[in-house]
């Protein structure tokens, strides 16, 4: 079981690397170098804040782009090109294949994020000539970003099991945006004083992934401590949510007639 998942995951990672997915690192590196040089010349004691905010936002956006645009094609492409036929004729269950694809993309994102983190650390070192203990918060924020990637990848994979990449992209981005503002949506619903609206916005708040909780970029920038309880809660939430989404994706995929 684990063996089959690992085999597919490693192959998915290899596919991403050979498709030059990691080339985005060049753009990230250029962004960090440019930012470090400019910020070093013009800012007035807020260099670290700017670099951390910019770096973490870039890590998040680059990764989300990869998670969505590669994620929606993970299964669809295999079905469309019929590469899946020979794989599924081997002793592997469909859900193992699916989880393997998920794991492969997550591994790609993790490696990508790790390399970007090194770039961010280098930029911080350039502007301040030192790394402080408060920078550990940056690592926590990056961990939250990785959890966010896992959620988005699982959602993209789920949609790609039954819809085209175009629609899957729309659905995933829609859920990501709604999930980011789900707390505001719930509060807005409460303001309307309409029981139906309150129930609806609450349902949105509880059903969709709450991406707001994963955003610790501002806290990391200001050197504020991120409580361990939040780390534990976010980890548990992400693991459970991903498990449920992958379970749903497996159920859909298991029953599909491949064209």
């Amino acid at each position: 079981m684990i063996g089959n998942i690992r085999i597919v995951a490693v192959n998915t990672f290899r596919e991403a690397v050979r498709d030059r997915v990691l080339y985005n690192l060049i753009f990230f590196a250029l962004l960090m170098i440019g930012a470090a040089i400019i910020v070093g010349q013009i800012s007035i004691g807020i260099e670290r804040l700017v670099i951390i905010n910019l770096g973490l936002t870039a890590i998040s956006l680059f990764g989300l782009g990869m998670a969505i645009f590669i994620g929606v094609g993970l299964v669809f492409k295999e079905m469309d090109r019929r590469t899946l036929y020979t794989v599924l004729a081997k002793p592997i269950r469909r859900w193992e294949f699916l989880v393997g694809k998920f794991g492969g993309l997550l591994l790609t994102l993790a490696v990508n994020t790790f390399l970007m983190t090194l770039g961010l650390a280098a930029a911080l070192w350039y502007v301040d000539r030192k790394l402080s203990p408060a920078d550990a918060n940056v690592l926590t924020a990056i961990y939250f970003i990785l959890l966010e990637f896992a959620l988005v990848t699982a959602l993209a994979l789920f949609f790609s099991c039954f819809s085209s990449p175009m629609l899957s992209t729309v659905f995933t981005i829609g859920i990501f945006i709604t999930g980011t503002f789900s707390r505001d949506i719930r509060d807005f619903g409460a303001l309307t004083r309409s029981p139906a609206m309150i129930a609806f916005t609450r349902a949105v708040y509880y059903l969709l992934p709450n991406f707001h909780n994963f955003n610790a970029i501002a806290a990391a920038g200001h050197g504020d401590a991120i409580p361990a309880s939040l780390v534990a809660a976010n980890s548990l939430y992400a693991v459970l949510y991903v498990a449920v989404v992958l379970l749903a994706a497996s159920a859909v995929f298991a029953g599909r007639n491949l064209k």
Partner: protein
């Protein structure tokens, strides 16, 4: 009695006509079939007959509307069954960013071989399909024929007991076809069961212990190619030389083709002796007389024609 290698029990597959169109199209209609261990079975039929649908059902790539099947006694839904089978899809397409070596190594991993075993197997099977030279070339650079060969290699890489090949000769040149025929015969010699679909009848005649003919989703007949071909004698073919300056009598000329003074005549069996008399009277020297038997192709075409006459399409309406 020994368990059949393949046991297909009333397999039926309907496809919806479309998202917004009610009704269904029957692609496979109540197919029942048994293939014994060690047999080479040819699955014949025109395009759209349901051959690929059958193979996809057996691989659980699609699911039956009704019916079931067992391979070596195991349900087709049992993933353990896949350890004992190999499958080549029609017009296979693989990960084009991998080399042939990497692709086969990837597939071999699902069978739990060690790295050393995988290296040995991959090299051996690439050699068997004549692809050693291209082992380290990315599949995106492969021709259709080369992909077909790699496809065959991945289907037999783990020494499966039952091998399913969907149009294995497709896209291959004459040398490639002969090599695939040799591979199939090699599998047969080693006691494997081979189930392959084809519309190239000469391949089926040459390789198969038995063939099944599928037309419009329905199995029309199953038997040894020789049984099917020896059903009847269509007529007699006479090869005869005529002396220079002599002409073939008019009634025979209608049935003859000539190359110089050598004539090839095809006459009904009942008219054979009358034809001899006329040839003798014309001074002809009879070189050979051969009975004309229907080929598998004739049998196949006759079934297709009968089917067309009976119904243009099989459609099941739910309205």
């Amino acid at each position: 009695m020994a368990t059949p290698a393949i046991e297909i029990l009333s397999l039926t597959k309907d496809y919806p006509l479309g998202h917004w169109r009610p009704g269904k199209r029957r692609s496979l209609d109540n197919l029942s079939l048994e293939v014994q261990d060690g047999e080479v079975f040819g699955f014949l039929g025109p395009n759209g007959a349901g051959k690929t649908t059958t193979l996809k059902l057996l691989m659980s790539l699609i699911y039956p509307t009704s019916g079931t099947a067992r391979i070596r006694g195991r349900s087709i839904l049992d993933v353990r069954m896949h350890r004992e089978i190999g499958y080549l899809p029609e017009q296979p397409y693989f990960y084009d960013y991998l080399t042939a070596n990497e692709l086969l190594d990837y597939f071999a991993q699902f069978f739990g071989y060690s790295a050393a075993e995988r290296r040995e197997r991959v090299a051996r099977f690439l050699e068997e399909v004549g692809m050693t030279q291209a082992a380290n070339v990315q599949l995106r650079k492969f021709s259709k024929g080369m992909l077909q060969r790699v496809g065959i290699a991945q289907a037999i890489l783990h020494d499966p007991q039952v091998v399913f090949l969907d149009e294995p000769m497709s896209g291959l040149d004459p040398i490639g076809r002969r090599e695939v025929r040799d591979i199939i015969l090699g599998l047969k010699r080693s006691g494997r069961t081979v189930f392959f679909s084809t519309h190239v009848l000469s391949d089926a005649e040459m390789l198969c212990d038995r063939v099944g003919v599928l037309v419009a989703g329905k199995l029309q007949g199953v038997g040894a190619p020789s049984e099917i071909m020896s059903l009847e004698v269509k007529g007699m073919e006479i090869l005869a030389d005529l002396p220079a300056g002599r002409e073939l009598p008019a009634p025979l000329a209608a049935h003859a083709t000539a190359a110089g003074q050598r004539y090839r005549l095809q006459v009904p069996e009942a008219d054979l002796y009358a034809a001899f008399d006329q040839l003798r009277a014309a001074g002809a020297k009879i070189l050979s007389v051969t009975p004309l038997r229907p080929t598998l192709e004739d049998y196949f075409m006759r079934l297709v024609e009968n089917q067309k006459a009976a119904s243009h399409a099989i459609e099941v309406s739910v309205r």
